[in-house]
Each structure stands twice: as C-alpha cells, then as structure tokens.
C-alpha cells in the first residue's frame, strides 16, 4: 500500500491537507472553544481566540439542567439499533441486486430511493396518527423502526455499489469449490466488502444520530435522543451561545470519537484493495 514518495512530497501533502482540514474543522473548533467561554465572552467583539477565562460553568449548567446520560443512551440505542437492523436487511438485498440482477433491478433501486423523497414534514400527521394508535409514540422501538426505514434505501444503495466493485470471478470460484450461498455471503463476500460495509455503517450511524425531524417530533420524555437535548438549549430568550456550544460539544463528542476509531478500522480494511 505504501507508495514510495520523497519526503519533500510528503511534507507538501501534509501541509496542504492539514491547512484544508483545519479550515474545514474550524467552525467546530470554534464551537468547542466557545463552550469554555462565559456567555458575555461568547458574543464579545472582537472575539478572543484562546486568551479568555476558561470556564467549565457551561458544562455544569448543561448537566444540571438535563439528563445527558438518558438522551445519550437513547441516541446510542436508536442509531445502533436502526443501523444493525438496516444492515441485516440490506446486505442480502444488495447482494441479490449486485450478483443476481434481474431485468427490473435498476427500477427497483430507483423506486427504493424514491421512497425517501416524500418530504417528512408532509407525512408527519399520518405517521403521528399511526404511531398513536400503535402506542409507539415516545418509544425507542418506534424510532428504530422509522430510522431503519428511512435510511434503508441509502444503505442498500451504498452496499450495492460496493458489491458491484467486487469481481464476480471470486464468488464463482467459491461456488465451484462448493460453498453454500450462506457461506458465500458470510465468508467470501462480507470480508471483501468490509471497508464498504464499515463506511456504510458509519455513515448510517451518523445519519441516524443527527436525524432531527422524526426524533424530535415522535418523542416526549422517555425516548428523546440528543437531538431533543440540543433543542432544549437552542434559542431561548437570552444569551445562549456558550451553553449551546457546550451542549453541542457533548452531543457530537461521542460520534467524533466513534469516527476516530472507525477511521482506523477503515484504513486497516483497505489493504484488501490488493485482491484484484
């Protein structure tokens, strides 16, 4: 994998990439810095970058006011639950579309995507009525169902494109060797598709983690995830930027850490590019 490059080339790459990365990251860095300021300093002009009185006051306030852990657990359960169920349904479907395509496969794909095009705000009332009748309002299981369904087309699509990249010959070779369909998927296809599955999974967890329409509108006290936690700190009467920044930092920190780990996972899975 490691391509031979001169140290100079490496240095140029490093400098360019770090500059761009820091620019892109800056708004988040700014949010994190703001979370350690007082409300007055957060709107001070000109703003101070590092030389202010660092304070943990905002974090204390945020924790006093809401049950972070409850919201955090709800977010974890909902985003992981919907991702795992989604993958379990999507991997066979994507396998079938990629390797046993029928005449209508492309139409089915397009149709699946089109189910995502109904603006959620237009179907809120029907869904709310259905959820009320099924006693699913403000339950984790209700949210898992909704998030699985809204993200399913995306998972299938992404897996499909990754699977298409895998040379069919290898699967056929496995089949010749007498591998059953199940072991073909489990032991041949899946390991080869690990980077694809991993990045699909990561993306889906993020999408579910940040989904802020259904998670806000279908919950009340029990199943509300971090999106609702954030909505409790945004735009009250009065200054709120520092506290909102603290709440936001707490809401994105878990997924940033997860991202950091799966980043390593992704890079490791890449060596398989040599399979060709």
């Amino acid at each position: 994998m490691a391509r031979a490059v001169t140290p100079q080339r490496r240095a140029v790459n490093t400098a360019a990439a770090w500059t761009i990365a820091l620019l892109i990251f800056f708004p988040i860095l700014w949010t994190i810095l703001t979370s350690f300021k007082t409300e007055a300093e957060a709107i001070a002009s000109p703003p101070s970058f590092l030389f202010f009185d660092w304070t943990l006051e905002n974090y204390v306030t945020v924790n006093e006011r809401s049950d972070y852990f409850l919201h955090f657990m709800n977010s974890v359960v909902i985003s992981l639950g919907s991702t795992l169920i989604g993958l379990a349904i999507a991997i066979p479907a994507a396998w079938s579309m990629a390797f046993v395509p029928g005449r209508r496969t492309k139409d089915v794909l397009l149709w699946m995507l089109s189910t995502k095009m109904l603006p959620p705000v237009g179907v809120l009332i029907p869904i709310y009525l259905i959820f009320r009748d099924l006693n699913l309002l403000d339950t984790r299981i209700g949210l898992i169902i909704v998030l699985t369904l809204i993200n399913l087309p995306i998972i299938i699509w992404m897996l499909y494109t990754y699977f298409k990249e895998i040379p069919v010959d290898i699967l056929e070779a496995a089949r010749m060797d007498g591998a059953s369909l199940r072991s073909e998927i489990l032991y041949v296809l899946t390991p080869m598709a690990v980077p694809g599955i991993a990045s699909t999974m990561l993306l889906n967890v993020i999408l579910a983690w940040n989904e802020a329409f259904w998670t806000l509108n279908l919950t009340a006290a029990d199943a509300a995830p971090l999106t609702a936690f954030i909505a409790g700190f945004s735009s009250p009467e009065g200054l709120f930027y520092a506290r909102l920044s603290a709440a936001s930092t707490m809401a994105i920190a878990p997924i940033l850490i997860l991202g950091w780990f799966s980043q390593k996972q992704l890079v490791r899975g890449l060596t398989f590019g040599a399979v060709k």
Partner: protein
C-alpha cells in the same frame, strides 16, 4: 450465468427490503394522497370534507411556488457542484501519504457529525453576522465593509452552509472508492509518461464514476429536503429568496396545520423529486451498469 437456484435465492433475499419499503411507502403515501383531497385543518376538527383538487390548486398557485422550485434546484445544484468537485479533489489529497493522516481525515469528516440546526446557528451568529461575526471582523481587519451575507446573498450563504455539511460525505465516499483503485495501473501509466492530468482523467475519474454517481444521487435526496438550515438562518426570506419546496410544505403543515394543503404539497414535492431523479438517472445512470 446465474443459476435458477441463485435467482430464487436472490428474490428471497431482496423481498424483506422490498416488502418493508413498500409498506413504508404505501401506508403514509396513500394516507397523504387521501388527505390531499380533503379540507382538513388540524386546528379546526370536525370540518373535514371532500374538496377534490382544491388543495392542489391552492398549493400550485402560491405566489412563492415557482420561486420555491427555482430555489430548490439552485440549492441542490449548487451544493452538488461544490461537494462533488471539492470532494474529489479533497479525497485525492487525503489519499496521498502524509503525516497524521488519520487525524486529518477525522477533521475533514467532522462537519458531517454536527446537527444541521447547530451548524446553522454557529454559521449565522458566529461567522456571518455583519456586526459580531468572524467574517465581519476579518473584513474590517483588511479595511473592507462587512458583507451582510444573509440579507444580500441569502441563497448563496445557505448553499455554503449546506456544502460545508455535505463535503465530508462526498469526500468519505470518494476516498473509500479511491482506495480500491489499482495503484499498479497508475504507476504503469506514470512510467509510460502519462501526465498527472492524463492519469486523472483516464484512470482516476473513470474509476470514481460510480462513487460520484452515488454521491450525487444520495445527496440529491437529502438536499431536496433541506429545511433546518433555512428555518434557523432566514426563515425562508428575505422575501422568498430562500424558500424551498420543503419550507413551503412546512409552512402549510406545522404553521397552518393545514393537513390538506400540506399533503397536496407533499404529493407535488414527491412528483417533482421523482422527475429530478429520473432526469438524473438518464444523465448518469450508465455508470451504474458497467
């Protein structure tokens, strides 16, 4: 090539996904279509009655309707352009060997983790505000008049905010695709004296074609329903400069609680979205059939 057996297995494995999505689509959609023919305001119960196409006429004759279509297309198009081009370049850069690659990648991906409401609030108040924002301070620092972004370039500002959120997605997908690129092929081309530009257009870009297609299609779906960013920054204004279709439907459904008109708007939106999707498929669908 595929045997009868595997065909049957294929259908079997596809069916759970198809059945679930069919249910998810048919139940709300049929309710929505039904409501769209009713006079049905949530705040005035007991007055429901059949009105035919009245809701559709009302929604389609909204003075903001054509602006909303234009804004939706500009928003989707602008963000797609920025994120696919920017994402390709960025993915290629991140694919190069460098120090601290892992950290750089996570920094680049990070904006995708931020909830849309939060990022809109941060951009609006801490960056674009013409008095207290960082951009205003930078402009004043070099002796320029600060630009009032959200009043004088509202749609552009929203395109920038949304692009910032979606650039990481494009980069991540394209980076994953780049990594399955056969480096030997690139090296061979280099030996043969192909210029970097040549190598990009004849080896890298074709390899990325399918990933780019995925990026465009998936982003289009999400971008068509961009909403939180608009609500937080401009509330659809000034005028109708940043009103998109989703915002129009929102106004009917969660401000007016006019379920009839909102459902009609939802049906119109899904029809238009599918037209866009078919159009896109015609344009780039070839990439999916290699």
């Amino acid at each position: 090539m595929a045997t009868q057996h595997s065909r049957a297995a294929g259908r079997l494995m596809l069916s759970p996904a198809v059945i679930l999505l069919l249910g998810w689509m048919l139940i709300p959609l049929s309710l929505t279509v039904y409501f769209s023919f009713l006079r049905y305001n949530l705040l005035m119960p007991g007055m429901e009655e059949w009105t035919g196409f009245l809701n559709y006429r009302f929604f389609l004759t909204d003075p903001a309707f054509f602006d909303a279509i234009r804004n939706t297309l500009l928003l989707v198009g602008g963000v797609l352009l920025i994120t696919t081009i920017g994402g390709t370049l960025l993915a290629m850069l991140l694919d190069q060997p460098m120090w601290g690659q892992g950290i750089v990648r996570i920094l680049v991906i990070a904006p995708f983790f931020v909830m849309p409401t939060v990022s809109a609030l941060v951009w609006k108040n801490m960056f674009m505000n013409p008095v207290n924002g960082l951009f205003a301070h930078l402009a004043k620092g070099i002796g320029l008049e600060p630009l009032d972004f959200l009043a004088h370039a509202p749609l552009f500002s929203i395109v920038m905010i949304v692009s910032w959120q979606w650039l990481p997605f494009a980069t991540l997908i394209l980076l994953t695709a780049l990594q399955s690129l056969d480096t030997e092929q690139l090296e061979a081309a280099e030996m043969d004296g192909a210029s970097p530009l040549c190598r990009f257009f004849f080896i890298v870009l074709p390899h990325l074609a399918r990933a780019i297609t995925v990026v465009i299609l998936i982003q289009t779906i999400f971008l068509l329903s961009v909403f939180a960013e608009i609500l937080v920054t401009t509330n659809g204004g000034p005028g109708t400069a940043t009103t998109n279709l989703t915002f129009l439907v929102y106004a009917q459904s969660l401000l007016q609680f006019d379920v009839g008109a909102a459902s009609a708007g939802g049906v119109v939106a899904i029809i238009l979205a599918n037209i866009v999707a078919i159009f896109l498929m015609r344009m780039i669908g070839k990439n999916l059939e290699r």
